[in-house]
Every structure is written in C-alpha cells, then in structure tokens.
C-alpha cells in the first residue's frame, strides 16, 4: 500500500508541475520555477510560525504571497535598476531564500521544519503523513494537497486556455487587444508557487525544478501543438515518477533523486530520437537533401534580404 501512495504522490506532483512548467518553458522563463521554489521558503516559515502548525492552507497562502513577490520584485528590479532579468532574479530569490533560512534557524526550537526535508524532500514518509479528519483516516495528507493544487492548475488552464496561449506566444498582441495579461501572468505565477510548495514537501526545493522544467522540455522536442505539449509533459512527469520509484527501489537510493534522473533520461531519449526535432531525424533529413544544400529554413532568407536592403 505504501508503494501506491508514494507513486501517487509523485505522479500528482509531477503532473501539477508539468502543467505550469510548460508555460514557463514556452515563455523562456523556466528558471523562474527555480527562483520561486526557493523564494517561497520565508512564506512557509512565517505561516508556520504564525499558526504554529503544519496546516496546509496558511502555508499555501504564505508560499503564494512570496512567489508573487519574487516575480514582482524581479520585474521591478529589472525596470528600475536597469538590471538583466537573470541577474535580478538571482538577487531576489537568493535573498528571500536566505531570509527563510534565517527565520527557520532562529526559531529552530519551535519550528518542526527540517532543512533537509525542504531541500531534498522526503517522499518515502508520505504514507505515514496521514490526514485525520474528524477522527477519520483520510489517507496521506500530501496526496490531498497535491490533488487540490493539480485541480486548481487544471481549472486555470482549461478556463484561461486561449489567454494563456496568446500570453505565451505574443504578449504585445494580447496587450493591444486589451486582454488582462497581468491577471494571467500573476495567475500563472501563483499556480507555479502553489505547485512548488505542494510538491517540494515530497521532492524538495531543488528537485521540484526538475519536475517543472524537464518534462515540458521533453514534450517540446516531440510535438508542435500546445495541447499535445501539455499532455505529453504530464505523461513524461508520470512516467518519470513511476520509473523513478522503481529505480530508487532497485538501487536503494533517494526516490526524489531517481525521479529527477528519470526525467533527464527521457529528455535525452527525446533529444536523440524525436521524429520532429531529434538529432537523428535531423541527420537523416540532412542526408536526404544533400543535393538541395544544408538549410532552407525561414531564417536564411530573412537575413540575406535584410543585408541587401542596407
């Protein structure tokens, strides 16, 4: 039974992360997932101190608030401080994370938050982290939290699908049409924060980044349709969860680590064997058109025409 709960937890976590991660990857902001996953730490610590319990909802709210704060501060720093996006992100999330570490260590005696658990997660203990409701055993608590967050993400993506699509593809057009792009932006960032906090209890703040970035990147290599990309990203998240569990079982190692390794393995396979973008497919195609020259894509024509104009 405990095997079932662990695998279910991993599958729910990777699905929730893959859905929001897909949009981050498409917006070329994959590392924002990394930033948020670290920067939510003070939010969790504060929520923990205020409520003196590991109650989930205050933690979700605290994490959500600090996730959005990270995004907001990064953008402000970039605009006002004339800094590069990655530099501003690096400043904001490390500072917030460090503040979180200080809070936790300061109140270490009162806080039952284990730093190891936050960094690496402890999915193996999920089956014993039970939710007792009115004296009834409802099953593992993380399963409920992750299930709730996954539903939230699904609801968000299904209801705002066209807005998310235009937001990710052509932000300028969306703004010019009066589509409430900031709402969508912060909605997505909120979802990333929720997914991160819900997932990291199980897989840790570092490995949650693997779940956000790698399965969507794998899917990106395999399809040219947004809807297929979302489904494939979830599929690879789940596949990595299941195979990762058995890899950990077989090598007697960390489950979270094994899951992250498996996401990398599938990415590597896609990189070589993808019929759309794979290295082998490209080599094969190049061989087929040796008569026609190496590359006839859109970029080339553009470049030559522009040089002539100047």
């Amino acid at each position: 039974m405990s095997t079932f709960w662990i695998i279910l937890t991993a599958c729910l976590a990777s699905s929730a992360c893959a859905l929001v991660g897909s949009f981050l990857v498409l917006r070329k902001q994959a590392m924002l997932g990394d930033a948020i996953s670290h920067a939510v730490l003070p939010g969790i610590a504060i929520a923990f101190l205020l409520t003196a319990s590991r109650n989930t909802f205050p933690m979700l709210i605290g994490a959500g608030a600090f996730g959005l704060l990270t995004v907001y501060l990064t953008e402000k720093l970039q605009l006002r401080g004339r800094l590069m996006n990655d530099a501003s992100m690096g400043i904001v999330f490390t500072t917030l994370f460090a503040i979180g570490v200080i809070i936790i260590t300061m109140f270490a005696s009162q806080v039952d938050l284990d730093q190891e658990c936050i960094l690496y997660g402890e999915i193996a203990y999920v089956p014993w982290d039970l939710w007792i409701f009115n004296g009834m055993n409802m099953g593992p608590r993380p399963v409920w939290i992750l299930g709730f967050v996954l539903m939230l993400n699904l609801l968000f993506i299904v209801s705002c699908y066209k807005e998310l699509k235009i937001y990710a593809f052509d932000r300028q057009l969306a703004v010019s049409m009066g589509i409430p792009i900031m709402l969508i932006h912060y909605g997505l960032m909120g979802s990333v924060s929720f997914s991160t906090i819900a997932a990291f209890e199980s897989v840790g703040a570092i490995l949650v980044v693997a779940l956000i970035v790698v399965p969507p990147a794998t899917a990106y290599l395999l399809t040219r349709r947004l809807s297929h990309l979302l489904m494939l990203a979830v599929f690879f998240g789940i596949l990595s969860s299941i195979s990762g569990y058995y890899l950990a079982y077989w090598t007697n190692s960390s489950i979270a680590g094994a899951i992250a390794v498996m996401t990398g393995v599938y990415f590597g396979l896609a990189l070589f064997f993808s019929p759309v973008d794979g290295i082998l497919a490209k080599k094969y195609r190049r061989k087929q058109n040796t008569g026609k020259g190496p590359y006839e894509g859109p970029g080339l024509e553009l470049r030559t025409k522009q040089t002539i104009n100047i």
Binding site: K162, F169, D170, Q172, R224, R225, L226, E301, L302, K305
Partner: protein
C-alpha cells in the same frame, strides 16, 4: 474587456496630442502632435531610432508616454480596442512556438471574445477567410516554424484581417519578404483602404514609399512632416528627417536613388 463604444462623430480615426516618450530619460519621441485622415494608406518613414515603432506602440497602449495622449475616433484607446488591429514586427515572436498557422490567425479573433469564452464556428470561419485572402489557406495546419519569412508575414497579416478592425497599425510588414509576398501584401493594404479602413505602416524602403502609399509621415524624434504624398514627400522634408543621421556612404546611396524617384518641384 470593455464594450466597444461608438465613434465620436466627425473625429479623425487617430489623433495624437503633445506626445513625448522616453526610454530611461532619453527621449524617443518629442512633442508629437497630429491627426490622421480616414481611409488612407499612410507610411511612417524616418531613420533608424526615429521613434516610428515607438509611436505605434504608444498609440496601441504598449508603452506609456511621459506626457500627451492619443485618441481613436475621439475616444480613449480602452473603449476602442476592437476598432484597431496591430501587426508587430515579425521578430517579436518565437516562431518555434507550438501552434499551427490556423491557431495564430484565430488569435486575431480573441479581441472579440471575452474572458473564458472559446472561439466559435463563426470565428473559425473568419480566420479561414483571412487565411484565404493572404493565399495561405493550404498552410492552415502547418506548424509555424516551417514557414518562410514571407509566409510568416502573411500569417501575421491574416491575423490582423481576422480582427476585422477599422484602423490597422503595421510595423514593417514589408521587411525581409520576397517580391511576390510584397505585391500580395500591397494588394491587401489597398483593398483595406478601398473599404474605407485606415492603414498606418512603418516603412523602411524609401524607393517604394511614393508608389505604395497615399500619405506620408516623416518622423525623426519630432514630427517632421505629415500630408499627402505629392506635397509632403519632398527632398527638403527628407533631408530634414534624415539629414544629420546619414553617414557619407548611405548618403551617396540615398542620393543616387533619390534622382530616380523623388519629385523635386522646380528642379529637374
């Protein structure tokens, strides 16, 4: 999204008042003030960095001006968004994005759909119609990364057509396209104009300005000149707009071109 308000009677399609825009304290547009006529093909011309794209983006609400404002048919932009369509420069989007040609054109309809609403059959028909107009119907299911530069531009144009607007702002639609696409785009622009639409185009190629457009706006930080082609596209105005900015080499090229195509009143 706001409901589209009615036009103010007699108001020009676009009016801009005392517009100043700057990037990090460096002005890009300085006290620009004009009104555009309805139903004309209008070229916006000026040297690199003259603020042409910035002007369009500011009118579209993508950039906040330091001062001044613009009106669409006498009303603020927010009330008139459905009446205007914007064609950004092709390079502003990622052409590897996982969407099909049809998906991109359908985005033009999003302006008319409120939050949570999905495109209806009617929207899909309009999108397909727009694709037929630009001669890209058979590419509908193609992924956009497989398009050539000219085809990408046609797709962007189809998206704007699907928006079914009254004013079109286009940022360099002729940049880097093949000759047949250029002809095709010009034909479509003229068709829009003949249907009473106002079309404002940022244009780089001085050789074709007088042949393609009805009106011209010469811009270089300030508004240099605006008016019908015959009276406005003169050597004096061009020199005012490009003057100090041309280096010797490009000056030579420009002059050799100008010989052929600029009307020089009282000087032949």
């Amino acid at each position: 999204m706001s409901e589209s308000a009615a036009k103010v009677k007699g108001a020009p399609p676009v009016e801009v008042h005392d517009l100043t825009v700057s990037y990090q304290n460096k002005p890009v547009l300085w006290d620009v003030d004009f009104e555009l006529p309805e139903g004309k093909l209008i070229a916006v011309v000026g040297p690199n960095g003259a603020g042409k794209s910035t002007l369009i983006k500011t009118i579209m609400g993508l950039i906040d001006p330091v001062s001044g404002h613009s009106l669409i048919y006498g009303r603020p932009l927010e009330q008139m968004r459905k009446k205007i369509a914007y064609v950004p420069q092709r390079e502003t989007v990622d052409w590897n994005f996982p969407v099909s040609v049809f998906d991109v054109v359908l985005m033009g309809r999003y302006a008319h759909l409120s939050l949570f609403k999905r495109p209806k059959k009617h929207d899909k028909e309009l999108a397909m119609e727009a694709l037929e107009k630009v001669g890209m119907a058979e590419f509908a299911d193609r992924q956009i990364s497989q398009l050539s530069g000219g085809q990408q531009q046609r797709v962007f144009l189809a998206r704007a057509l699907a928006q079914d607007a009254e004013i079109y702002f286009m940022d360099e639609p002729f940049a880097g396209v093949d000759a047949s696409t250029e002809d095709h785009i010009l034909l479509l622009l003229k068709e829009l104009r003949n249907h009473g639409r106002t079309v404002v185009v940022v244009h780089h190629d001085l050789q074709t300005v007088s042949g393609y457009f009805d009106w011209v706006m010469l811009l270089n930080l300030r508004l240099v000149a605006l008016g019908p082609m015959e009276t406005t596209f003169t050597k004096e105005n061009l020199q005012k707009a490009y003057g100090g900015r041309l280096n010797i080499l490009s000056q030579v090229i420009e002059l050799s071109r100008k010989e052929d195509f600029i009307r020089e009143p009282g000087h032949e």
